[in-house]
C-alpha cells in the first residue's frame, strides 16, 4: 500500500508506539482487500457501534484505555449506538440486578472513556444517528469511518456517502489517524451491483421481510432493486426513508449488505441507473410467495410457542419522528376500534434521545402515553441479550431484533392486532 510521508511516519512510530499500532491495524485491514492507498475521512462526524459497558468486554475497554493513556484522541466527534439500559423500560427486580451488577457494570466507566475520546454530546446514543434531529447526517460522496451495520447501509444507499462495513474499534481508528484504506464500497467499482432484484409482488412488500429475503440471498453483494419505486415513489421523502431504514437493517443483519440501489429512488440509481449493474449480475425475483416462505421459515425459539407475549419492542433500528407519529395514530385508531383503552401487551417504542425530545414537543406524545406505550432510547437488542430476558416471550416487527435474540417476528399488521385486539 502506498502511504503518504505522514502516514509512513505514524506507521514507523514517530508519533508513538500506540499510534503506530493503530496505523498498522488499518494498513493490515486494507491490504487484505488489496487497498492501494489510504484516503482522508471527510465527514463531520463518526459513528461507533460499541455503546455497551459489558463486564465481559474488558479487552475493548483495555484497548480504549491504552489509547487514552497515550493521549490519543479522535479527530472527529462521534455518535454511538444506543445505551443498553433505560429505567423506563419494564424489568423485574432480578433483571435489574443482573443488568446493573453483572452485565452492564462497566457502562458508566465506558461512557467516560467515550466522552474522553470525543463523544458528540452526552445523549449521542442511537443507531439512527443520520436522523435530522440527531445531526450526524453525512453528505453525498463523503468518506466515513462508521460502523453499525444498519447505519452504514443507510449512509451508503440512501445518502450516497462512502463507507465500508467497518467493525467496532476499526471505526474509531479511522477517526484517530484521519484516514481509511481505499477499497470495497469506497470505490466506484465496489459500488456496482452484483444482483438485479425484481419486485413482482401484488402489494407493497413488508420492508423487514423484503430486506431479510434479499440479505439472505445476496449476502455481502450489492443488490440493484427494480420495481420497488412502484410502491415507494421516486422521491426520498420521510416515508420512503423510513421504509429504507428498516429494509436496509434487515439486509445487513440477515445478510451482510453494505449498499443497495433502488431503481429510480436512491441517489446513485437515479444518477447512473442500470449502468450500476455488473455485466454478469445475477437475478432474483421477489414474489408474494417468496416473502411468505421467508416468513414461514423464521425459527420460533420460545419454549412454549403459544405463550402470551410479555413484552413488545418496536424500533430496532430506532424509530423516526414520523414513525412515532404514524404509530400513535394507528394504535389509537385500533384501540378505539376494538374497544380497549390501552395496549394489551406492555410495549416499548424506541427512538434516538434527540427524536424523543422533539416528539415530546408535539401533541402526539400525550396521546401515545395514553395508549400505555412506553417511549425509550434503549437498545432492545442489548436489553434482550441475557438469560432472563431470553426466556421471556417478546414480540417485535424488527427482523434485526429477531435475528439476534429470542424475540418473535410479526408483521406490523399482526403487531397492531396483538396490541389492540388481542390474539393474532
Amino acid at each position: 500500500m502506498e502511504l503518504t510521508l505522514e502516514q509512513k511516519a505514524i506507521l514507523n512510530g514517530e508519533k508513538g508506539e500506540t499510534l503506530a499500532k493503530v496505523m498498522k491495524t488499518l494498513v493490515m485491514y486494507g491490504e487484505a482487500f488489496d487497498a492501494t492507498k489510504m484516503v482522508p475521512v471527510t465527514s463531520n462526524y463518526n459513528h461507533l457501534v460499541t455503546s455497551f459497558g459489558l463486564g465481559v468486554m474488558d479487552p475493548v475497554y483495555e484497548l480504549m484505555d491504552t489509547l487514552l493513556k497515550e493521549g490519543v484522541r479522535s479527530s472527529q466527534k462521534f455518535t454511538v449506538d444506543p445505551r443498553p439500559l433505560d429505567p423506563n423500560v419494564p424489568k423485574g427486580f432480578l433483571q435489574n440486578l443482573v443488568f446493573k451488577r453483572f452485565m452492564y457494570n462497566k457502562q458508566e466507566f465506558y461512557e467516560k472513556q467515550l466522552e474522553a475520546l470525543g463523544l458528540l454530546e452526552k445523549d449521542a446514543f442511537t443507531c439512527t444517528c443520520y436522523m435530522s434531529e440527531v445531526g450526524n447526517k453525512p453528505e453525498y460522496g463523503e468518506v466515513l469511518s462508521w460502523s453499525e451495520s444498519s447505519a452504514v447501509v443507510y449512509a451508503n444507499s440512501v445518502l450516497g456517502a462512502r463507507c465500508n462495513r467497518n467493525s467496532g474499534i476499526i471505526d474509531i481508528m479511522g477517526s484517530i489517524v484521519g484516514c481509511v484504506p481505499y477499497f470495497g464500497l469506497l470505490t466506484d467499482e465496489g459500488r456496482k451491483a452484483d444482483w438485479i432484484i425484481r419486485i413482482e409482488t401484488t402489494r407493497k412488500p413488508e420492508a423487514q421481510l423484503l430486506g431479510s429475503a434479499i440479505g439472505m440471498k445476496v449476502m455481502e453483494d450489492v443488490p440493484y432493486v427494480i420495481g420497488l419505486d412502484r410502491w415507494l415513489g421516486n422521491e426520498l421523502n420521510e416515508e420512503a426513508c423510513t421504509y429504507l431504514k428498516d429494509f436496509g437493517a434487515a439486509t445487513a443483519s440477515n445478510g451482510a449488505v453494505g449498499l443497495y440501489h433502488i431503481d429510480g429512488l436512491t441517489p446513485e440509481a437515479r444518477k447512473l441507473g442500470t449502468k450500476l449493474l455488473k455485466k454478469d449480475a445475477k437475478e432474483y425475483v421477489i414474489t408474494d410467495e417468496v416473502l411468505q416462505e421467508v416468513y414461514d421459515n423464521y425459527p420460533i425459539v420460545w419454549k412454549n410457542k403459544d405463550a402470551k407475549p410479555r413484552l413488545c419492542f418496536m424500533g430496532c433500528p430506532h424509530m423516526s419522528l414520523q414513525q412515532l407519529k404514524d404509530w400513535t395514530d394507528t394504535i389509537e385508531k385500533n384501540l378505539r376500534k376494538y374497544g380497549n383503552p390501552q395496549v394489551l401487551i406492555p410495549t416499548v417504542f424506541t427512538a434516538a434521545p434527540a427524536v424523543i425530545r422533539e416528539f415530546k414537543k408535539t401533541d402526539y406524545y400525550p396521546r401515545l402515553e395514553k395508549t400505555g406505550i412506553i417511549l425509550s432510547y434503549i437498545c432492545p437488542l442489548m436489553y434482550m441479550n441475557n438469560p432472563l430476558c431470553a426466556k421471556m416471550p417478546v414480540i417485535t416487527s424488527s427482523n434485526k431484533l429477531r435475528t439476534y435474540t429470542t424475540s418473535r417476528y410479526y408483521t406490523d399488521e399482526e403487531i397492531v392486532m396483538q396490541l389492540c385486539k388481542g390474539g393474532r
Binding site: 491495524t25 467493525s167 476499526i170
Partner: protein
C-alpha cells in the same frame, strides 16, 4: 485426504478438528452468549444457523464462507481471542469479509493470541470438508483436510 491452497490473512500453523458452516457465520449472534456467560467451549448460539447451533467452536478449525451480521463482529472476535474462546483457526471458502478481517487483524496487532486465518480456499473446500475432519494448516496457506 485433500490439499487446498488459500491466501494467508494472518499467519500461523496449527492442527485442529473441523467445524463447518455452509452459510454465513453471524459472529455476534453466535458468540455473544459464550462471551457473556463464561462458556469456555464457545457453543454457537445463532438460532438461524442449523449447521452450527449448539456446537462448540473454541479451539476448532472453523470452516466458513464468510461472516455476516452486526458490525460488532470484529470486536467480538477480538474479545474471543483475548478471552481464549476463539476458533483455533478460521478457513474461508471465499475472500474474507471486512468484519472477520477486522477481528483477525485486531487480534494479531493488539493481542498475543495466535489464530491463523486463510481465505480464498474455493468452493471445493467447503464441499469437501466435514465436521470432525482433521485440519492441518501450513505457513504458506496450504490446508490439508483428512
Amino acid at each position: 485426504m485433500k490439499e487446498f491452497k488459500g491466501r494467508v490473512v494472518t499467519p500461523g500453523t496449527c492442527t485442529a478438528e473441523a467445524v463447518v458452516t455452509h452459510q454465513g457465520f453471524n459472529t455476534l449472534a453466535s458468540l455473544q452468549k459464550a462471551l457473556q456467560f463464561g462458556d469456555k467451549t464457545a457453543k454457537v448460539n445463532d438460532q438461524n444457523n442449523p449447521d452450527l447451533f449448539g456446537k462448540p467452536i473454541a479451539g476448532k478449525a472453523l470452516c466458513l464462507p464468510q461472516t455476516i451480521g452486526s458490525t460488532t463482529g470484529g470486536l467480538v472476535l477480538y474479545c474471543a481471542c483475548k478471552m481464549e474462546r476463539n476458533p483455533r483457526c478460521m478457513l474461508f471458502g471465499n475472500r474474507i469479509d471486512s468484519l472477520a478481517c477486522a477481528g483477525a487483524v485486531l487480534a494479531s496487532v493488539w493481542s498475543d493470541a495466535e489464530m491463523p486465518v486463510i481465505d480464498e480456499l474455493g468452493d471445493g473446500f467447503l464441499d469437501y470438508v466435514k465436521d470432525g475432519m482433521k485440519i492441518t494448516i501450513k505457513e504458506d496457506g496450504t490446508v490439508i483436510v483428512e
